[in-house]
């Protein structure tokens, strides 16, 4: 399996995701945002960070980068795209996923571990989570408050496009377990075809039992299994 990680000025989780991909024997290349074409890739990752210092709106300037045209083409051809944190914000600004990510409800930058319920396992990113009632992953963001109109939310529910929801330690989706005010506790969503996943939590920071835990590993295993 081959992957490309797109690097923007201000990306800061690009090396973390590269380490994760390499650990799972996914052959990765780092691609600078100003490149005009993507190398042949099965998976494109938009990493976390603060692309362009979050100027104008988070992810907005990055979504107009030259390489994004090719990322959109790759996605429209059914290629896998994973957007983590700022990458999720970029996917939304690029129009590849619906809705918007607003500032956290309590106006605080959040950096902590959260519990997540996997609400759809019938996709190439999450199939490995079938036996997990809930998982624990870190979040680190200021704009993760997912917002969409009723029509979009209904479609996300009806078509099983919500992949992750914030929950408590027992796996219950409650208001108290929603860290940032997201509609319906949404932490990650898929596009209609389920080849694009955007999520606020960081699976790449949870791939090593020595450093953290391994709940993120299952996502990379799922991707490999689907390949």
């Amino acid at each position: 399996m081959k992957s490309s990680v797109i690097v923007f000025p201000g990306s800061n989780c690009d090396r973390d995701i590269a380490v994760a991909l390499e650990k799972f024997k996914i052959k990765n290349q780092m691609i600078w945002h100003a490149e005009s074409s993507l190398p042949k890739s099965d998976l494109v990752v938009l990493p976390g960070g603060f692309s362009y210092g979050d100027y104008l709106r988070t992810g907005c300037i990055a979504s107009k980068s030259r390489i994004i045209n090719d990322v959109i083409k790759h996605a429209k051809n059914g290629g896998l795209v994973l957007g983590i944190c700022n990458g999720f914000q970029i996917l939304i600004e690029a129009g590849l996923l619906p809705g918007v990510l607003l500032r956290n409800k309590k106006l605080k930058f959040l950096s902590k571990n959260v519990f997540l319920k996997i609400t759809d396992i019938k996709n190439r990113f999450c199939s490995g989570y079938s036996k997990k009632k809930k998982i624990e992953l870190p979040i680190a963001h200021n704009e993760g408050n997912y917002f969409a109109n009723g029509e979009i939310l209904k479609k996300l529910v009806d078509q099983n496009l919500i992949a992750f929801k914030y929950c408590d330690a027992e796996g219950n989706i409650t208001e108290d377990s929603n860290p940032n005010g997201s509609s319906m506790n949404i932490a990650g969503i898929l596009n209609n075809e389920k080849n694009i996943l955007g999520l606020m939590p960081h699976p790449e920071r949870s791939i090593d039992p020595l450093l953290s835990a391994e709940d993120g590993s299952l996502m990379f295993n799922s991707l490999l299994k689907s390949y």
């Binding site: 104008l56 809705g99 918007v100 956290n104 409800k105 309590k106 106006l107 917002f147 005010g181």
Partner: protein, 79 residues
């Protein structure tokens, strides 16, 4: 041609920063402040003398870059 564009959150979108400013003004003693919504302001200089053409470009700029039309509205003023 000088153009100014104001971008504000749509009415139905929560504006936590505006809320905090509103509360702060009340704490400062401005009891008559009813509500505050925070927005962005852009000054754009355009190499165009035709007002109609300038307006078309400004609209495009607002739609394509300056606003996220899902949550924001814009108003354009030509000077």
């Amino acid at each position: 041609m000088k153009i100014s564009a104001t971008v504000t959150l749509k009415k139905e979108v929560l504006d936590p920063q505006g809320k905090v400013i509103n509360q702060t003004l009340k704490n400062m003693g401005y009891k008559k402040v009813i509500n505050v919504r925070q927005g962005k302001f852009f000054d754009i200089e355009l190499d165009e003398t035709d007002r109609e053409k300038a307006k078309v470009v400004a609209e495009e700029i607002c739609k394509k870059l300056l606003t996220n039309v899902v949550i924001e509205d814009y108003t354009i003023t030509l000077k």
